[in-house]
Every structure is written in structure tokens, then in C-alpha cells.
Symmetry: C2
Subunit: 209 residues, 2 copies
DNA sequence: ATCTACTAACTGACTGGTCAGTTATCAATA
DNA sequence: TATTGATAACTGACCAGTCAGTTAGTAGAT
């Protein structure tokens, strides 16, 4: 019995497999965390057998690494795009920055990856370092530098630029984490763009002399 | 050989064991995450055998639950203390609130527990709900109500009170998460009290009419 | 065009190790 | 000496990683 008669039981698609596996792995890791994620689940979601995964990745750790690193890349691109934008007034620069972050948070799975990095930083310090060195420090550094420059021009009151930068972006991060953590259990969600707009406008009012 | 001769090889201390086990479990969970934490490690750190744990807790899940719930209780106490404080001007209330949070973050292992809740919310929705219902919603609600009242008195500009509340506390949360996630891998730490003070003063400037 | 020989992508049953939870037994206290 | 807190050896389930075998696709011969 059970001769499929027609559909082959698998297709050879060497080129597409890695991305599909990483995509499936992201979902499962984001849902269960690293340790509780089963390779059989990842395989099933990727429409492939567990053995096939090992044709493309050596260990479970390697898959996790690929997931996190692919989560960094597009954000780096966005950051570069912002840096290339023509410099308007400082408040407009900040508004553009906030809008970009809100867009990234809405479009990409940044929240899920952030959650994973937070949760597994002790077990995978190299991954936390990748995120820290390649994404967070550049972003925070660029923002701090812009603030410091505005202070030098007298547009912004004195104060630690790095602290100002954290003040600016924190609600976005908290909002994203909230979405990943508490919204699934029925908590009232936040309107992230609205939250961010009110926050930026209020903080800017407090930052100008 | 190896007759202990003198010290007994264990002592019966029924009353103290549960707290010691919970304390040890907190450390291991905070370090490794729930799934990667081994009961043998928890037992060893509590100075007890694995079997002894099962005299006081039925399952690993129960231990985790005890850890998270014990992390909520002292904060509830702090919150109540603040609510009982005599109401000064709104900015002073906010400053007191910020100072309390900073103190809690410095004194208690709130950061480690927060990390655990974020990481395991999907696997333990009941725990996320405990935190949400018993700690976050009351705290956020009280702060929002204070802001709304100040708005009604004309001391604060219009705007969503809940969003203002998130704006106020977010840098603290981000700072705590930063301390748990990136400081251990060598990232530059934040001076949390200084960050929070600058943030609150700046935001307050932007919130008053 | 059709067949055939070959490659390699893919499968799925299996293994070895790990670890949550159990139990037979011991030893400290009342 | 009866009770019970505590131990340590044990069990069974689970799962990352392996590998012998299967099948899709392909190139070369007819």
C-alpha cells in the first residue's frame, strides 16, 4: 500500500535548504529557547528530515549562530542607510532615527532575536559579542556622536551623550520585548509608533536649552 | 579508609533547606536558563544531594516557580511603601519613584529574574502572568494614574499617561538587562543611578507645560 | 528520444550520553 | 528505637548526532 504515485517524497534543492532551515530554526528558537528547541521540530518545520540539517550545519550551536548572525545583517544595512542620509536639524535627525527603529522593529524579527540573545548570552558569549560589537555599539556610538555634536553647537543641553542615547531608544527596546513576552499571554499591547513619537517629542523638549 | 571521624556527613535542617535550594536555583537558572540548568548543579550549590530537593519540591518547574515568585514578593512590598508615602509635588514623586527603582535594581536580583521571565515566558506562560499581573500592571498602573492626576491638575502636558510611564522607566529596565547580558562579556557598564537621574530630569523638563 | 549508469541530496532508524525523577538504604535527632 | 531528613545508586525518557540505505536528478551512451 501507500505508493505515493506522483509526488516524489522529496526534492533536491540544495541552494534553498540552508535559508529555509535557518528560518524554521528562528521560529522554533524564538518560541522555545535554545535548549528546549528540538532539531526534529526544526526539521519538520523546514519540511526536511533531521539528517538533512546535518548536510548543511555541523551542530545545533551552528544553526543558532546562523540565526543570530542573519538577524544582525539587515539592521547593519539600515544603520548605514541612515548614516548616509543628509544631516538636517538635530531634532529631525532624531525623529528619522526613531522612525527607522520603529520600522525595523515592525518589519524584522529583531524582537525575537533580541530575546534569544538576552536569554542565551551566558551560554553563547560569542553571539552576545557579535550583537554587541557589530550592532549595538555602532548604533549607540553613532547616536551618541550626533548628540555630542549637537551639544557642541549649543543645540542640546549638557549631559552624558551616551545616557541621552539610551534614554532615546530604551522605550523602543522595552516595547519590543513586551511584544515578545507579555502580549502572547494576553497583556495589553503597546502602539509602538505612537509610544515612540510621544517619547521622542517629550524628550527632545527636555533636551533643548 | 575515610572514616569522617568527627563531622557528621550531613545535618537535618528541614526549616532552612527550601530557601537555600531556591537561592541556589536562582543562581543556576540566572546563569544557564531554565532548560540548561541541571538539578545536580542546583543541589551541589545548595550543599545538598539531588534527592533532598525532591523532599521539598515536586518538580523542576516548581523550583523555577518558587524562584520567580520569591522575586516578586519583595518588590510588591517596596511598591506598597511608595504608595503610602506622602504625596509631594509631581516631579518629586517621580524622582522618588525613580530612586526606588534604582535602589531595587541595585539591591535585589530583579535583573536576573527579569531575564528569566523574558526567556521562558513562552514555556511558562503562568509565570509571565504572575509577573505581569502582580508586579508590572500594578506598578505601571500606579505610575500612569499619578501622571493622569497631574495632567488633570495641569502640571503635565497632555499625552497618553501609559506611554509617559513607559518612557520614564524604560532606561532602567534596559540598564538592568544590559548589566545581565552584555557586561559579563566585557561591555562597558552603565552608571545606572546617573543614567536614571539624567533621564528623569530631562523627561520631566519635557513633560511640564 | 530512450535507456542506463552514476552522483549526491535526502531519509529515518539507531545509538550514546545526559538528566529529571525514583527508591533502597543510612544516619541524625526526638 | 522510631521517625524522618538525607543520600547515592538507579531507571527511563528524551534528544543531538550518525550512518546505511533510498530516491531524485543528470550526463553519457545508444
Amino acid at each position: 500500500m501507500s505508493l505515493p504515485a506522483g509526488q516524489p517524497k522529496f526534492r533536491r534543492r540544495k541552494a534553498d535548504r540552508p535559508d529555509e532551515i535557518v528560518a524554521a530554526a528562528f521560529e522554533v528558537f524564538a518560541e522555545k529557547g535554545f535548549a528546549a528547541a528540538r532539531l526534529d521540530d526544526i526539521a519538520a518545520r523546514a519540511g526536511v528530515s533531521k539528517g538533512a540539517i546535518y548536510l548543511y550545519f555541523a551542530t545545533k550551536d551552528d544553526i543558532f549562530q546562523a540565526v543570530v548572525e542573519q538577524g544582525v545583517a539587515p539592521n547593519l544595512h539600515n544603520l548605514a542607510a541612515l548614516a548616509a542620509a543628509n544631516p538636517q536639524t538635530f531634532p529631525d535627525l532624531i525623529r528619522a532615527f526613531a522612525k527607522l527603529i520603529a520600522q525595523v522593529a515592525a518589519t524584522t524579527p529583531l524582537g525575537g532575536i533580541l530575546k534569544m540573545v538576552i536569554g542565551e548570552a551566558r551560554n553563547f558569549p560569542e553571539l552576545a559579542r557579535v550583537w554587541h560589537d557589530r550592532l549595538i555599539v555602532p548604533a549607540l556610538g553613532a547616536l551618541s556622536a550626533a548628540i555630542a555634536a549637537a551639544q557642541a553647537r549649543g543645540e542640546i543641553r549638557p549631559g552624558d551623550p551616551r545616557h541621552y542615547a539610551v534614554s532615546l531608544i530604551s522605550p523602543m527596546l522595552v516595547g519590543v520585548i513586551w511584544r515578545e513576552t507579555f502580549t502572547p499571554i494576553g497583556a495589553e499591547p503597546f502602539d509602538l509608533p505612537a509610544l515612540m513619537e510621544q517619547h521622542v517629542e517629550t524628550l527632545l523638549r527636555g533636551m533643548v536649552p
